[in-house]
Structure formats: C-alpha cells, structure tokens
Symmetry: C2
Subunit: 409 residues, 2 copies
C-alpha cells in the first residue's frame, strides 16, 4: 500500500545559453518545469513535469495545486487502475474547465500531475516506466485512458483490440530494448545560430552518430530559410534525414510558397508550418506538398485536436508531447489514434526525452509503431538525476525505476 | 493626452443562488471576473472583464499582470490607433504564448486587458463604446484588429471593404438606437431547475416581453431533454423562438441521436452539441441536422478556430464572446468573418450583456449584420454601475460613456 499524502509544486526555471532553444517564434526561451512532487506515506516520491518557456510557469503550478487535491489519500495502485476515470474527473472540474477546456494552463497542469502519478507508480513497482507499461494487459492500458469525444474514430474496445493484435509478435520488436532507440538532433539548428554555427553543429551531430537532425526555419526572409537548409543538406549529405521546423510562423500563403522552395533539400518532414488551431490550413498544405509530410503536435492541446488533424489528413507525422497533452495517458491515446491510421509517431520532447524514451519503447513494442527516432535536446542534461543515456545518436534504455523525471534539487 | 499610469487586477467573485447558471457540464458556477483596472495620469479609469466560473479566476489575474506591463506610459489614443499591432505583440509574447497559444488563461487575460483599454478609450472620448466604434473610419476599425492567420479567408483590405460597403445605408439601420436591440432569456431554463420551474420561468419570460428563450439540455437521460423541451414549447407556443444548449456534453453519436429527437420542438438553434475543439464533428452534425442550425462560439478561443468552423460549415449561428476571445477587437474580427459568409451572429454574454449591447449595435449598423437578439442573464445586475436597461425583452441603448463594464466596488 502506497498512499499519496502530500502534493507540492516546484517552479523550476533553467536559463539557457544564448541562442539555445530559439526558433522563429520563441526568441528568448527559459526552459522551465511546472513540477508536481507527490509523496506517499512511505516516503516514495513521484515527479511530474510540464514544460513552459519561463513566463507563467508559476501559473501552471497554481493550477496544479487546484487540480491535484482529489489525489490526496489515494492509494497508487487503485488510483492507476482507473486513471482514465480519475483524469477525466480532473479535466472536467466544473469550474476550472472554463479556463480550457482541455487546453492551456489547466491542461498543462494535468500533464504534470499525471506524469507524477506514473513516475510514482513505476517506482513503487520498482521498474522503469517502459517496463511497467509493457507489463500491463491491453484492458489495463485502456483503463488508463480518457477516450471521451473520440467515439466517432475509436472506441475503448477498438483501442484494446489494437493493443491485443500486437501482443503475439512483440518478441520480434523487443530487440530495441538492448539496441536502444535512435535519436535525432534538434540543437544543431536553433534559429538564432548563424550559418557557420549550424554547419559546424550539423557536422558534429553526424560525426557523433546522429542520422537525422532538424533545422529551425520560419524567417521573415524566405531566402534565409532556403539558404540555411541548403547549407545543412550540403554539409550532411543525402543520406541524413533533415527536418525543418517553422514553429507556426508562416501564414498559409507563405507556407505554400516556402514549402515548395524547400522541397529541393528533400525535407524528411516540415514541422508546424502555421497556426496549430488551423486544421484546415494544414490539410490544404498537406495536400499541396505531399508526399512531403507535415509534422504537428507540439502545440496540439489534446486528443480531440489530434483526432481532427488525422481525420482531415492535416499531418502525416504525429508529434504528441506528454508534457503538453494530459500526460503519459493522453500520449498513449494519441499514439493509438495514429496507429489506427498508420501514421508515424515522433514525439516532441518538452521533457528533453527523459520521459519519452520510455514511451517510444512502449509504442514500438506494444503498439507496433515504427521505430523511427526520438528528438534529442541536451541543454538540461545536468538537471536530471537519471540522465538519458544518449551515445552514438541512440537513446540507450533506461533501467532505473520510474519515469526518469526526477530533477536535481 | 491620457496616459496609462497604473494597471491593477481585481479577482471579483460573485456567488449565485442555487441552480442559477447551471448547465449539463458546469454544475456549480460562481460567476467571476478577472478584472483589469487601468488608470490614467488624469485619474480616468477603464475596466475590462474576462469571465470565469470561480476556480482559477486568480490565475487569469496573474496572467493579466504579466501581459499588461507594456501598456504602462502609453497614451490611449495613440495606443488604440494601432491596437491591432499592440494586441498581437501581447498575444505573441515569446514566453507566455507557450501557455496557449491564443487560448486558455493567457487569452482570457488578453480579453480583460483589451476590454479595459476600449472602456477607457470611450470614457476619454466621452461617448458610449457603440458610438465610438461607429464614429471610426473603416481603416481605423481594421487597425484595431489582429488579422494574422486569416489570410486565406480574409485580408485586411477585404475587411475594410466589407465595412466600407455598409456605410451608405447605415441610416436605414440606425433606428435600432432608439428602438433598442431585442434580448433573449437564458435564465428560464437552467439545467438544475425542475420541470415546473422551467415552465413557470418560460411563461414569465414571455409575459415580460421576450420573444426568444433558451433551455439547457445535455442530460445523460435523453428523455429528460426531450420532455423538458416539449414542456417549454407547449408552454410558450409556436411563435416564440426556443433554443436548446447542450454545453458540449454530447459525444457525436449521442448528438446525432438527441438532435433528431429534439427536431419536433423546432429549435431555433442547437448550441454547443459536443466538444468545442471538434470542428469535424460539428461539421458532420450540421450536415445531418440541417436546416436546424448549430450555434457555437462560447468556447472557441480565437479567430482561427472560428475561421475553421466557418470554412467547414460546422456552425451556422456564430456566438463570439468578447470575454473569451481577445476582447472587443477579436470580437469584431470574428463578426467580420461571419458577415463575409452571411452567418448570423448572436454573442455569448460572459459579461451578462453589459459590453455586448454595444457590440451588437456596431455589428448591425456598421457591418449590416442582421438584428437578431442578444442573450440576457440577470444574475449579476446589481454588480454593475451602469446596468443594462432591459425592459419588455429589449436592451435599451446605453448612453453613459464607456463600455458599461464598471463593477460596483
């Protein structure tokens, strides 16, 4: 029996070095975690994170304190046995849902709360989170999920059937546990790095074993985007997968124009071309630039928006982030939706990959998702107790109990 | 010269009587305003409101304090001459936009800030807000608006042309200033009122001059919805417009079922049938239940979601709320989008109609929007200094300078 006795928050702010984390829209990020710390009667602790860029991180902490209260005195195993119901009750708080619903500060708070519960759960069981998830039956997995408002695309029974259908050939995919999961490098191409820096960084990324990397675009000067993408392509050669990311900066007409001009560098995907609420603009753009896939998810707040994106064929690479969605459970829900449509899943890592390294193993082994690659951003490495072990461009499987989200005090 | 010197917030909480404000989703509302109070060097004050249902109202106040700082020392006329640029700068705050973007707590905060600026501006000019807006040239109106991400539907030039095109025959619509703008009664049919109460309330609403009223539906027991809608229809007769409002409660399959069963009571619209992020579910439902129109907007966070709804034919009654959107200016933007598509505009009144009574006059006279009716909810009447003058079911035109948003201390 592990009963939750205290829930406190930490407004954890981590300034970056000049240029780090910059993109076309976010020019001065201060990576920050609205952190949920839960502790049981036996002194076991769970840590949950939601990412912000600094400003307003304390507002998310405030929302955590309002929303997490019902978890006090709950036993962790019984809580997680019906997490789908509990998380829906929190999300549907009849006053606080007005601040969303299911988006913005209250949903980020639910992400942090949820992730803390999963971390605690895995620690209490004494296993890494990926192992815990793989040990659950399909029915237990589905009981973790709030699948409301998805009925027209996927019922709980259909979700369970998907997991069931991938049980038999799991062994064929379990090799990833020993080989590790490939990473891709985002930090080579931050927006405010100059041309020489991105070339040097791209070369260094490839030299250190990455086979895929990303460049920030979305300049007001499209020539700059094309020039820099060409520099990186020329630097790394044709065998490296190169993604470009506009961070929502373009209008639809601008996106149509610049995406066409970027086609010659053969982007593996074009990420967040325009406003994340604009389902139909993404759908039109996806149609125009196919077969180049649009990638989206970093700012899609919940499973319902993802459902719309998939139904409208508005993106072909799905990028859920368990620190933007309502935590690990809504991440799994979105992964199931993507699996149903045979769409590739490549998480955005607000957690710097710490938590998602567990989730991509689950997605690949339990859901049969393609082993693609996981974003890697090194800037907060020293802030975590159990640092992701990324060597030779590969995430090596975490072995410590929990979700790898504990921060150094 | 009126220069903004102080900006403070007020966490204004107004408990309601039992049953008031209840719907299928919001069972215990405490109407609350995250209030922005700005004051000039000459002691002129502007009041801006964003509605919440109690919980988290202080979080919105916190976000206001973070976002409003750039307005200090700005002169109000020069500020409002380029409000479209200024409001976009606030909305695009490179750290705080992560908490949205353009939705949730940060966008509610921008609503409150924006509305305070408009109230102050009208007071400095010594006119009611509707008069101020009608006195502006089409170009000045468009300069108030952030039209980014709308380019594929409406450019600034097209917006200006719409206003321009309705200048010549304004006089034919100005009679509304003396006759007043019709209201409709929402408070007859709150969700937790029993059958007898809603019948009594409906009778009383009609007796007091309302020609339209609304009933809350979305019960887990569809029979209850149908029974209560039938009671109200039988009570008020066929000549009264009767709207039903499910407040997002239904899944798409449930909505398809219940909407068909509600058709015999001839609803003037069916409001918020399912989750507000579900553009495609609304589009499918609208197709199935046409010609009954879907009404939506209370929880559409921004102009981009409204654009998607309109492009997908996902609603035919547009319900912007200047306390959910980024205030008066984004309300006007959404009204222009609706006007372009010849869709009816019937605001949701988080302000209890105090501010929107100005905006519907502008919409009708300046944009040529149909004179439909404006929602009326009386529960906070005594909280405002300049109470909306609603008699015989009609909003009589406010004459005091400002936006009618000042609260009693």
């Amino acid at each position: 029996m592990s009963v939750i006795k205290t829930i406190v928050t930490r407004d954890a702010i981590f300034p970056l070095k000049p240029g780090e984390g910059t993109d076309a829209v976010h020019r001065d990020p201060v990576y920050s975690y609205a952190t949920t710390l839960i502790e049981t009667d036996a002194g076991r602790r769970g840590t949950g994170l939601a990412l912000t860029l600094g400003g307003g991180n304390d507002l998310v902490c405030g929302a955590i304190e309002l929303l997490a209260a019902p978890l006090i005195d709950r036993e962790i195993e019984s809580l997680m046995a019906q997490w789908g119901v509990v998380s829906r009750q929190i999300a549907e708080h009849s006053q606080l849902r007005w601040l969303g619903p299911h988006k913005g500060v209250v949903h980020l708070a639910l992400a942090s709360i949820t992730n803390a519960c999963f971390d605690l759960w895995a620690k209490v069981r004494g296993v890494p989170l990926w192992q815990l998830l793989l040990d659950l039956s399909p029915a237990r997995i589905v009981a973790l999920l709030d699948m409301s408002y998805l009925e027209d695309m996927m019922t709980a029974a259909q979700a369970e059937a998907i997991i069931e259908s991938h049980l038999a050939d799991r062994a064929a995919r379990e090799g990833v546990i020993t080989s590790g999961y490939p990473g891709y490098d985002t930090s080579a191409g931050w927006f405010s790095y100059d041309d020489r820096q991105i070339a040097d960084n791209a070369r260094r990324a490839v030299d250190s074993g990455f086979t895929a990397l990303k460049l920030k675009v979305g300049s007001s000067d499209a020539e700059r985007d094309v020039r820099r993408a060409t520099i990186v392509r020329d630097t790394v050669g044709d065998d490296i997968r190169l993604m470009v990311d506009a961070n929502q900066q373009w209008t639809l007409p601008a996106a149509l124009d610049v995406c066409r001009r970027l086609a010659p560098i053969n982007p593996f995907w074009i990420e967040e071309p325009t406003h994340p609420d604009d389902v139909l603009a993404h759908a039109q753009l996806q149609k125009e630039i196919a077969p180049i896939p649009i990638a989206a998810g970093e700012h899609l707040p919940n499973r319902i928006m993802f459902k719309n994106y998939m139904q409208a064929d508005a993106c072909r690479i799905v990028q859920p982030d368990a620190l933007r969605l309502a935590g690990v459970s809504e991440f799994i829900t979105v992964s199931l939706l993507a699996r149903q449509r045979n769409l590739r899943v490549a998480p955005h890592v607000g957690d710097m990959g710490q938590l998602h390294q567990h989730l991509v193993l689950f997605n690949h082994i339990a859901l049969g998702c393609e082993k693609l690659f996981l974003e890697y951003i090194p800037h907060l490495r020293d802030r975590f107790i159990h640092r992701a072990d990324v060597r030779d461009g590969v995430y090596h499987t975490p072995r410590a109990p929990g979700a790898s989200t504990d921060l150094i005090d």
